[in-house]
Symmetry: C2
Subunit: 143 residues, 2 copies
């Protein structure tokens, strides 16, 4: 699943968006996908997680994703953590940490941002996800 | 502007949605409107503020709303506060407090959730906004 999220992050990178990708999985099936599209959609809310959560809700026919896991290549920001809260996700797995904009910058425990029933894990394929981001910003600076 | 947001909240109530409304104003003009549509759109992210911010970005042709004010009838949740952060709103004015789901439940100051440059104010038409919500939930319980 995280490999799929990374593939989506690469797609974002190819079109000049900050490379973050996300998938929502339900019983080993992907029911929602997204990659960061804030530039293309000209929308500050068009983060990978938001798009994947909305897509999954449509696919499942429910705004509660309490049997689903979100895999995302970067630590969710406050907005996306808040969206996970409303979706009541069973589990959130993120790859790389985001010291600047991740939810954890507030120093409050995950269960205060996410739903208390959501299991939050991190570190899966973190090196790959971080490398993708570093490479993207390095190329951006060079240009 | 808050009266316009309240009118949108009433529209939400009329279609069975939790009555929250929001407008984004730029130089005394409304450039984005939204009301809570989580049920109608089957989307946990479809809060009034999210819809108004996305609409305003489209209208202004910018994902930064740093010259804009968001008026919303209820204290923004973490997700919506996070969206305000990314939109870099100049000002956020909310009417009623939301003790259960408002950003302030975390006990952290507004400038940590919203953008540090965003001025956050509250209390404008709070009684009207609260009454609308109380009435909605009272009717819901009676049914």
């Amino acid at each position: 699943m995280m490999h799929q999220a990374l593939a989506l992050a690469r797609r974002a990178s190819q079109v000049g968006e900050v490379p973050v990708g996300a998938v929502v999985a339900w019983r080993d099936r992907i029911i929602g996908k997204g990659y960061n599209q804030t530039l293309a959609l000209n929308d500050p809310t068009a983060h990978a997680e938001m798009i994947a959560i909305t897509a999954a809700s449509q696919q499942l026919g429910s705004r509660y994703l309490n049997e689903c896991t979100l895999y995302v290549t970067l630590e969710p920001c406050l907005m996306c953590a808040g969206a996970c809260y409303w979706a009541m996700l069973s589990r959130v797995v993120y790859a790389a940490p985001d010291e600047k904009n991740g939810f954890s910058k507030l120093g409050i425990p995950p269960h205060c941002c996410f739903h208390p029933k959501t299991c939050v894990q991190h570190g899966l394929l973190a090196a790959e996800a971080s490398a993708l981001l570093k490479d993207f910003f390095k190329k951006l600076r060079t240009r």
